[in-house]
């Protein structure tokens, strides 16, 4: 026992460690979020939180409910695979409550030019024109119907 008499201070030091460790364990129980470790080393609840973010683009399926007539025209033309919101912007609010949001007509001078301005960088088969030469300043919709812009298939105005 005499060993312990002269090593008492060491036990006190060790005791501090043990105490700190116990406090740590208790605190940990309260601090670590309950869903942590549910699927892996992360807070499982985060998945649902992220999935609950608001949707801004309604998605092309939801336009058909009210705008089937436009969609029938589009389906038969060159823009068949261009989704509505690709040109009209995010409209989930409008789809939720059509009266609350009136979509703004896109400005064709900017919109059409973005895709169809000729550039050596664009794929060769893609329809592209030099805007100044092609339309001499006239807005695109003077000759092209935006929902079915091809001239041959009756899309011309």
């Amino acid at each position: 026992m005499s060993v312990f008499k002269d090593a008492g201070h060491l036990f006190r030091f060790a005791g501090l460690f043990v105490l700190a460790f116990l406090v740590f364990l208790v605190v940990r129980q309260y601090i670590v979020p309950k869903s942590f470790g549910q699927y892996g080393h992360y807070r499982g609840a985060a998945i649902d939180e992220i999935a609950a973010h608001p949707v801004k683009y309604a998605g092309h399926d939801s336009c058909e409910t009210c705008h089937a007539d436009v969609l029938d025209v589009k389906k038969a033309g060159k823009h068949a695979h261009v989704n509505c919101e690709a040109c009209h912007g995010p409209l989930a609010k409008h789809a939720d409550d059509p009266a609350s949001v009136t979509p703004v007509l896109p400005d064709t001078a900017v919109l059409c030019a973005r895709c169809h301005t000729a550039s050596a960088a664009k794929p060769k088969g893609f329809p592209q024109v030099v805007p100044e030469d092609h339309s001499t300043g006239l807005p695109c919709q003077t000759c092209h119907k935006p929902h079915s812009p091809g001239m041959e298939a009756g899309g011309a105005k």
Binding site: G40, I50, H81
Partner: protein, 243 residues
């Protein structure tokens, strides 16, 4: 079938609510979405990309991406015949407003849209010190903004440069593959806005997904395959000069 009055009293209002939902156009979170039934990925068809920047704008609108940072962006490559190892690359404001017109000079040009590759063996989730970033059971690498310290170790570890620290929230941020959309049966904002179908969301666990056929019949690559990150964004006809 014999429907009792009691059943009608319950069914009618329920049907009304459901009908509201259908009319509204925004589907409620698919209540039968099972995490283990999906393994999300994306297919990017290089020959179809026209560099219009629709995807960059749509992503920014859908996800409130801070100005100057990008969850997705488009790069334009200009490769001369002799110098495949030294392409000229530009990405003006991430390609958000498209690209300047390229003059015909007989050399090779193409666009490469980039985003988080949602790697199966991601180096970014490996280095997170606290478990704030992770790969979900359905294959999407996500960040928990309530747990992230903002140490930026994951940003350093990503070989593709797809992460950044959100300037206001001060946590790591990146493409979530529009998790809030794909779990509801919608496609990602970038795929929705792409006019040429250059970007397609794919579910590797869905046997009916066209990606399976596509992968079998086309030359497909991932970015930086030597890093062995298990990247899940597949590029059709990716040129060797792409960095």
């Amino acid at each position: 079938m014999n429907v009792t009055r009691r059943q009608m009293l319950i069914l009618l209002p329920a049907a009304a609510v459901a009908w509201e939902s259908v009319l509204a156009g925004t589907p409620e979170e698919a209540p039968n979405y099972k995490l283990t039934e999906h393994w999300w990925s994306m297919l990017i068809d290089i020959p179809k990309c026209i560099g219009c920047g629709n995807c960059v704008r749509a992503c920014q609108a859908e996800n409130d991406v801070p100005v100057g940072f990008f969850r997705t962006w488009v790069e334009r490559y200009h490769v001369s015949d002799e110098e495949m190892t030294n392409p000229q690359v530009i990405s003006p404001d991430g390609g958000k407003e498209g690209f300047p017109v390229a003059q015909e000079d007989g050399e090779k040009y193409f666009f490469v849209p980039k985003l988080c590759n949602h790697c199966a063996d991601s180096p970014c989730t490996q280095v997170c010190p606290v478990g704030a970033t992770f790969i979900s059971p359905d294959g999407v690498v996500l960040i928990d903004p309530k747990y992230c310290l903002g140490c930026a170790y994951c940003v350093q570890a990503c070989p593709y440069g797809c992460r950044y620290i959100h300037p206001e929230k001060k946590v790591a941020d990146k493409c979530t593959l529009c998790y809030h959309r794909i779990t509801k049966g919608l496609t990602t904002a970038c795929c929705e806005a792409c006019p040429t179908g250059a970007r397609q969301l794919a579910d590797l666990k869905n046997p009916k997904d066209p990606i399976h056929e596509f992968l079998k019949t086309h030359s497909v690559q991932v970015l930086k395959p030597q890093m062995a990150t298990g990247a899940k964004v597949f590029y059709n006809e990716l040129d060797g000069s792409v960095r």
